[in-house]
Structures are given as C-alpha cells and as structure tokens.
Symmetry: C2
Subunit: 270 residues, 2 copies
DNA sequence: AAACCGAGTTTCAAATAATGGAACTCAAAT
DNA sequence: ATTTGAGTTCCATTATTTGAAACTCGGTTT
C-alpha cells in the first residue's frame, strides 16, 4: 500500500491510520490494527484515541471496535460538491443514462485509484454513496485506463511502479508493459474498453473528460454485461458518450474548474 | 464555533483547519483562512500544506484557493456504510417515502448538529449527497429537536450552552428555555414538529429512532409545505412513520449497531 | 525606474509535543 | 489461584512543531 503520508509528520501518520481503518471496511479491533501497523502499541493507541475524540473514527465500546466516524460524511459532502465533477455533470449524466439505458459511471482519479463520484443505474433510482466514494483499481477498469492514458509520463511512471496487478479475471492485464500498450491504443482512438478485466461478464466503454490542455479531469463509462451486449454494441455508443464528456468538460471550463488537482508540492521525504 | 480539537495536539489542530475550510463551503484563499485563524501565518501555512499533500484538501494553483479534497469522499464512503443508519434503513425509507409521497429524511446527530444521512425525494429521483452529508442546526429542525429530546441531561446541557439560536424565521425558537419546554413536550407525545422554524412555508413531523435503552440513534422525518399540507395533516402520518422508525431500530439491533457513538473519553483539556 | 506593497513562502532556535519501552489493569481462560 | 493477553498509562528521551522574522516575487504606486 502506498505511503501517502511520507514526510507529513504526525498529521500524516494519523491520517494513514484512518486509511488503514477504512481499508478493513468493517469495524476493527485495536489489535487488528496493531498487527500491520508500523507504530508501537502506545503510539497507535494515541492516534486512535485522538481520531476518535475528533469524530474521524467512532468507537463501539461494547464490541471494542473502531469504525470510520460520521464527521467524515459531513466533510465529504463539501468535498464532493466543490472538488468533484459530479454536481456539474449531473444533468449530462441524467440525459446520457436515460438515452443509453445502461449503468453509467462518472469517475475521477484519486492518487492511483479510480474513485467513482457519481452513477446512474439503468433500472432502479440512484443508490446513494453505494457508488459515490467507492474506489476501484485503475489498471483494470474502463474509466481507470482511460484516465491513465492521458496522464503525463512523469506522473504515470510512479503509479505503474506501485501497482500490484492482481489478476481478477483471465482477461486482466497483469503487467506494466501490457498496460502501457493498452494506454497507447486508447490515446490512438480516444476511448477504451473493459473487456471483462475486472469481473467476468462485465464489459464497458469509457471516454475521458478532457481539459482544453488535454488533461483528463475524469472519465465517463457505460457498463453492460456480455449477456445483454457486446463490445461492438457498446462501441456504437461512443460518440454519444463523448458528446456528454465534452459537455461536462465545457461546463467545468465555464465554472472554472481547476485544471490540476491537489498539486503535490513535494516535501523532502528525508 | 465549537472547539472539538481541544487537547488533541497537532492532529486535532490540523483537523480543525479542515473544518474551517469546509465551513466556507467554497474554495478559499490562504489569507481568508488566516483571518479567523488562531494560528500564526507560518503554522497555518504548514497545516494547509500537509493537508494538501494528504489529499484532504485540494489546491487550485491557478486561483490559489483551497477546497476540500477528494480523499474525503473515499473515506466517507466507508464511514457512511459502517457508521450511519442509512444502509440498514434503506428499504424502510423506500417504503415510507412511497407511501407518504412526501420528502423523507433520515438524520443522525453529529456533535451538536443534525447530519442528514439519507433522503427520499417524493418527486424527482434522489439527489446524491445533496442530502447525505448535509448538516443543519439541531434546535430548529424536526429531526434535530426530536433527537435532542432523548439525550441525557448531562450531554444536552453543554450542547444548549454553545447554541447560537439564530432566528431563521419568525417561528424559530430563540432561547434555551423555549427549546427545553419543546423537548419536554416531545418526550410527552413521542414526536415533534418543525413549525416553519427553519424555513418559511416548510413544515415537518419527526420521530426518533430509539434503542432498547431509550437512546435516540437517529430520527426520521416527513417534510411538506404549508401550501400542500398542514401540521394536522402531517400528524396523521405519525403512526406510520413511527412504525418505520421501530423497524429501523429493530434492524439496527439485529445487526448489533453500536448503542453509543464515538464515546468521548475526555482527555484533560489543561 | 526605483521603491513599495502584500500575498505567499522559507528559515531556525526555542518551546512543545510525540515517542515507545516498560509497567500496569483487568477480565477471561486455564 | 495463576496465566494470558488485550487494552491502557507512565515518563524520560527524542523529534517535531512553533512562530517571529526574513525573504521572494508579482504587481502597483511614486
């Protein structure tokens, strides 16, 4: 797992603990956290105490477990409104979903992961949060690959380094070379597929949402199953999806959406 | 504004900065933050740097503004799933919303504020996050008052202390005494109203979601307008809403939802 | 053109807080 | 009654944070 916290002192370390709790995805005991923690017991203990006091974690005293705190939901609400494409993209997502009648995803890149910021489910009304905030691997999803394809070489390289390339299905790309070739292909044609690389039977087309400068702000995808549809079938939708992507890019430009997110001015790692 | 960070060292201070950025609700310049900051320039600067490096804030280098970072969305997704009533309440919310045909809210208490964790909008499909993660004042909303009513005196007192009692409408309760009387009335009948106390023309009934021990886990409300409905009209729905609240309480018991959230073992403030 | 300004950034010694090994508590298991 | 182990506290050492002051660098005023 990435060391995002490197060089950010106490605050970075505490936030790393938050991530670890989140990674469990379920309430977790102190000892479980301690097991794969780089910190000694007393130190970890204090972090967890502090985070709990702060409402970033919540403590279930009966079961002696820690879970993610409710304060995060409040903070994320603001984050989602001001740092994601979702609010601006909403009408375009709605229209696209209605027309194509399939599941539509809007995603952005966070660190080296795909973060889904909005979703339309063909059938049922939106399931809140079940999608917004969800993360997935970048190298084996349509939206992920499409966003990676438009990253600067300098930014891409370290991301590829630290990828673990887990083989989810028999179609998963399992090494950096194969992925690089795929990214070149995506840049050629301007869109990409997920050929059952993440889940068997699940396919999708994805297009990037590009700034005037050619950087990918996010990506848009239409997902289907091999039963209902084919890659060729999805490909027919590409121009419609690209139209939506352009509209979203346009609104984001009008609203003056930042071209570069969380510019990491590197602090000496020492 | 409350000093949640009291006594939590560097991490607490940094998180307080996060809250301040969130409070602006829009991208904010460094100087704006500095204005009402208790920290000197260099110190605040380092906090903001660290938080940005950590993805908790994002920096727009063109406009030189900070916004809430996208990492929060990822973390909150987990928080919402594991520390909110929303996932368990979903089917009951759906059913209730369908039956009453009005806007339905599910809320919990965070610190001294109402935090909406889910919502059903009678007319249009759900607006994501526009509701989950939103906060409101506890003293002048139906859900807020109902939850306050079932709080222990010891917990309630300090919350009432630090309330500012802003007068939103001519019906807003504007002092602790009036509120206390209202809370007694709510405990008597087991539900409460919002009588246009927050927004003119907007009324609601709210019921608490109670644990076996009589503590309020959250609250459920049905909202309407004075044009479409009346308090008496809403009151007719109470038993149906209470039924939903009991169902949710039941599921939460079955799932072993913690009875006490983020138990604040007080650290000496010194 | 030179001086000024103010937002943003860096520096560094002093002040403060974090660290972690070890000791302690307490409930459950033997 | 004793052991075990999770959770918690202690405190001298160590490392980080702190913040006044100095610096940078566009842009503006004299």
């Amino acid at each position: 797992m990435a060391d995002r916290s490197a060089g950010d002192g106490t605050v970075g370390k505490a936030l790393e603990v938050l991530d670890r709790v989140a990674a469990f995805g379920r309430p977790v005991r102190f000892t479980e956290l301690l097991e794969d923690s780089p910190y000694p017991k007393a130190t970890l203990y204090r972090f967890v105490q502090t985070l709990t006091n702060q409402g970033m974690l919540s403590y279930d005293s009966e079961r002696q477990t820690y879970a993610m705190g409710i304060r995060l939901v409040r903070l994320a609400h603001v984050a989602w409104r001001q740092s994601s494409l979702a609010p601006m993209a909403r009408p375009h997502l709605d229209a696209l979903a209605e027309e194509v009648g399939e599941t539509v995803h809007l995603a952005q890149l966070d660190h080296a992961q795909v973060l889904y910021v909005d979703k339309r489910n063909a059938s049922r009304p939106v399931e809140m949060y079940s999608s917004a905030g969800k993360v997935g691997p970048a190298y084996c999803t349509g939206v992920g690959k499409v966003m990676l394809a438009y990253l600067d070489e300098a930014v891409l390289a370290p991301i590829l380094e630290q990828q673990s390339f887990h083989r989810f299905t028999e179609h998963t790309l399992t090494d950096a070379e194969a992925l690089k070739a795929e990214l070149r292909a995506i840049r050629q044609i301007g869109y990409g597929f997920d050929r059952e690389e993440h889940e068997p039977g699940i396919i999708c087309v994805a297009v990037p949402i590009l700034t005037a400068g050619g950087r990918a702000l996010g990506a848009l995808s239409v997902t289907s199953t091999t039963e209902r549809n084919s890659l060729a079938g999805l490909e027919k939708r590409v121009s419609r999806i690209q139209q939506a992507a352009r509209s979203i890019a346009q609104v984001s430009r009008d609203w003056g959406f930042p071209d570069q997110h969380s510019s990491n001015r590197q602090v000496e790692t020492n």
